[in-house]
Amino acid sequence: MINEENNKEMKELLKQAITPVKDTELRRDLWPQMLRKLDQQRSRVPWFDWALAAILSAILFLFPGAIPALLYHL
C-alpha cells in the first residue's frame, strides 16, 4: 500500500518533468536500412580470421625460412 502511494507520488512528479511519448508512429520504411545492415554484416571479416592472419604474418616475419615450406604446401 505504501509502495503504491510512493509510486503514485513519484509518477505525478515525473510526469510534470517528462511526459509520455505521444508520437510513436514510424514515418518511413526501414527495410532499405535493414538490407544495408545485412550486406555490411555479410561482408565483414570475423575477428578470428584477422587474428589468424596476424599470427601467420608474425610467424612468417620471425621465421622467413618457413615461407618456401608454406608455399610448397599451398
Binding site: I2, N3, E5, N6, N7, E9, M10, K11, L13, L14, K15, Q16, A17, I18, T19, P20, V21, K22, D23, T24, E25, L26, R27, R28, D29, L30, W31, Q33, M34, K37, L38, Q41
Partner: protein, 175 residues
Amino acid sequence: MELLERFAAGDLEAFETLFRQHQKEVYAWIVRIVRDSGIAEDLTVETFWRIYRSRTRFEPAGNFRAWARRIATNAALDHLRHARRETELPEDLPCAASEDSAVRGETRERIRQAFRELPAKYRLVATLALIEEEPYNNIAEAVGVSAALVKVRVFRAVRMLRKKLNSFGVEVAAK
C-alpha cells in the same frame, strides 16, 4: 511451408515479410523507452538484425511478436547502458511546461537529471511503468522477468529517485 518456418530456415523473403509486418510495432515500443525517433529507428534495425542472426533458435510454433519485443527491449537496454549520462532527454519530446505547473523549470531539470542518472535497468522499468503507464505484466514479458520483479525494480527506482532528488535539494517526502 509457413512464414515462420521459412524465416527460421533462413529465407530472406520471409524475413522481409516479418520485418514489414512488425517494424512499426517494434519502433513504437523502442521509441517509448529511448525517447528519440532517430535512435529508435537505428535500434529497430538492430533488433531485426539480432532477430535474423538468431533465427535458428526461434521456435516456429512460438510467438514471434513477443520474441521480437523481448529482443527490442534488450537492444534498447543496451543503448541505455552505453548512452547513460552522456545523452540528455531529447528536447523535442515535450515536457509539461505550462505557467501553472507546480514544478518550476529548475526543479523539472533536476527531476530529469535524476532520472537520467538511474541505472539502465531501473530507468527502463521506471520509464515504462511510471511515465508510459504500461501494465506490469507487459513490462515483465518484454524484460523476461516476473511481474513481481518488475514491481521490485520500480520500487527501487522510486527510492533511488527520491534519494537523488533530496540530494539535489528537491524535497520529496518518504512515506
